[in-house]
């Protein structure tokens, strides 16, 4: 397929790996964070990390929207799913995320009407097909997904669909990156920026990373050569003593983003004062709620939700994985008590979670290394 095959060319990959080797200082250890869970998945699926020198370490960031949802928020969703007459709709991965005592899948097994959808539009369609039922959509995701929810709510308003509502758990990418850089136990040299978030918000919002923290950034595509080239761009900046935002994924990402999407988002959403992130705690203005114009479709106002903060299980080290402080295999329960089939932590649930990506693609290579 055009724009796929040429970005998976093995010969070009080897050439890029050679260039990377030529720009690294052998006496320095580099830590580069790929912010996006899609990148984490691609890195282990294609073995991109195997092509990097040993002193170039890729650190997995907080960019998997399932992984950053705290347990209390999952409990809120389960509480809504158990409301009489409610059809609760969500993306596939969310049904397996553990709440404090159960998952949405458990609630479904016990009779709650939980349905997996592939888009918010599907949820709206279910609402129109079931006018005598309340249909709630569990909206999660970064700025990539938020426009889809916003457009669906605009349709719900235009078509006056009164039995549809949204529990809005959309999050934004810049505040957690800032929180990470302010965290004393995190040391990073540069960032691989999230390509499809940037398709919406543009490359401009990432300028604070070089300007305020002196960290180089390369906004990256999702094919193996995209990632290798982005790593090279960051390493070249470090070698030259530069720090700026470079757009490796310029074939898709406009510098200013998608202005139509930003306009619709600003109509439908407002920033929450605070939102809890798994492993990162409460971060100011890091999530979205529905604006007053869309309050009628806000499930948190329509229903009573517990809103209780729940501490993560003690055995789970998702927080340290999300900050890049430990590698997934260094977690005490990785691959033993916590597996994709029976996850304890959110990072093991989504294929984009760092633990699930390691488990699916990297754990055998790791075992070979140990032997």
């Amino acid at each position: 397929m055009k724009f796929v095959d040429e970005f998976r060319d093995a010969e070009l990959g080897r050439a890029l790996a050679g260039e990377i080797l030529s720009v690294v200082d052998p006496d320095r250890h580099y830590k580069i964070m790929e912010v996006c869970g899609g990148h984490t998945h691609a890195i282990y699926k294609y073995g991109v990390d195997d092509l990097l020198p040993e002193n170039v370490e890729l650190v997995h960031g907080p960019g998997c929207p399932v992984c950053v949802i705290p347990m209390g928020r999952v409990d809120d969703g389960i509480s809504l799913a158990r409301e009489p007459g409610v059809i609760f709709t969500c993306f596939g991965d969310m049904v397996r995320v553990p709440g404090s005592s159960e998952t949405l899948l458990d609630a479904k097994a016990q009779g709650a009407d939980v349905r997996i959808v592939y888009s918010p539009l599907d949820a709206l369609r279910i609402a129109k097909q079931n006018p005598d039922r309340e249909v709630v959509f569990f909206a999660i995701g970064f700025e990539t997904t938020a426009p889809s929810t916003a457009l669906t709510l605009r349709r719900a308003k235009a078509e006056d669909v009164g039995n549809f509502s949204v529990i809005c758990s959309h999050v934004t990418i810049v505040p957690p990156l800032r929180a990470l850089l302010e965290s004393p136990d995190v040391r990073l040299d540069g960032f691989i920026g999230p390509g499809h978030v940037a398709t919406i918000v543009g490359a401009r919002p990432f300028q604070f990373l070089p300007e305020q923290y002196g960290k180089p950034v390369a906004i990256s595509g999702f094919e193996p050569l995209d990632l290798l080239q982005s790593v090279l761009m960051v390493l070249r900046q470090l070698a030259d003593g530069r720090a700026e935002v470079e757009n490796q994924y310029a074939r898709v990402v406009p510098w200013e983003g998608n202005l139509r999407a930003l306009e619709i988002m600003s109509e439908v959403f407002e920033l929450r004062a605070h939102f809890e992130w798994r492993g990162l705690g409460f971060i100011s203005q890091s999530a979205l709620r529905l604006s007053d114009d869309y309050a009628e479709w806000d499930a948190e106002l329509r229903f009573s939700v517990p809103g209780v903060r729940v501490a993560d299980p003690k055995a789970c080290q998702c927080g340290e994985v999300l900050k890049g402080v430990i590698k997934p295999w260094e977690c005490k329960v990785f691959g033993t008590a916590c597996t994709p089939e029976r996850p304890i932590g959110t990072c093991m649930v989504s294929p984009e979670g760092a633990c699930a990506a390691y488990y699916n693609y990297g754990r055998f290579a790791r075992e070979r290394e140990v032997v």
Binding site: M1, K2, F3, C36, G37, G38, H39, H41, A42, K45, G63, C64, P65, V66, F91, G92, D93, M94, Y118, S119, P120, L121, D122, I140, G141, F142, T144, T145, P147, S148, L151, T152, P194, G195, H196, V197, T199, I200, F222, R251, V252, N258, R260, A261, I264, P340, S350, P351, E352, N360
Partner: protein, 76 residues
């Protein structure tokens, strides 16, 4: 979880966009029927990339087209 989801990453909530070709457009609803590489069809919201034409390839995330595929954007 299906193999497809595992192989492509989390297509519904992560930072992933799937190339899909526009097969038909419903001007009344503003939705387009789009087909993925395997020929599976779905309704796609096109408000962010309008106007779209039958045959164009869009990058689709969670039922919404975020942008045109690179060759389409260049052709325009």
């Amino acid at each position: 979880m299906s193999e497809r989801v595992l192989s492509e990453g989390c297509t519904t909530c992560g930072d992933v966009a799937i190339p899909m070709r526009v097969a038909d457009i419903d001007r009344q609803t503003g939705l387009a029927l789009c087909l993925d590489a395997d020929g599976a069809g779905t309704s796609v919201e096109t408000a962010l990339v309008e106007p779209v034409l039958v045959g164009e390839v869009l990058l689709v995330h969670a039922g919404t087209a975020l942008s045109r595929a690179p060759e389409e954007a260049r052709a325009r």
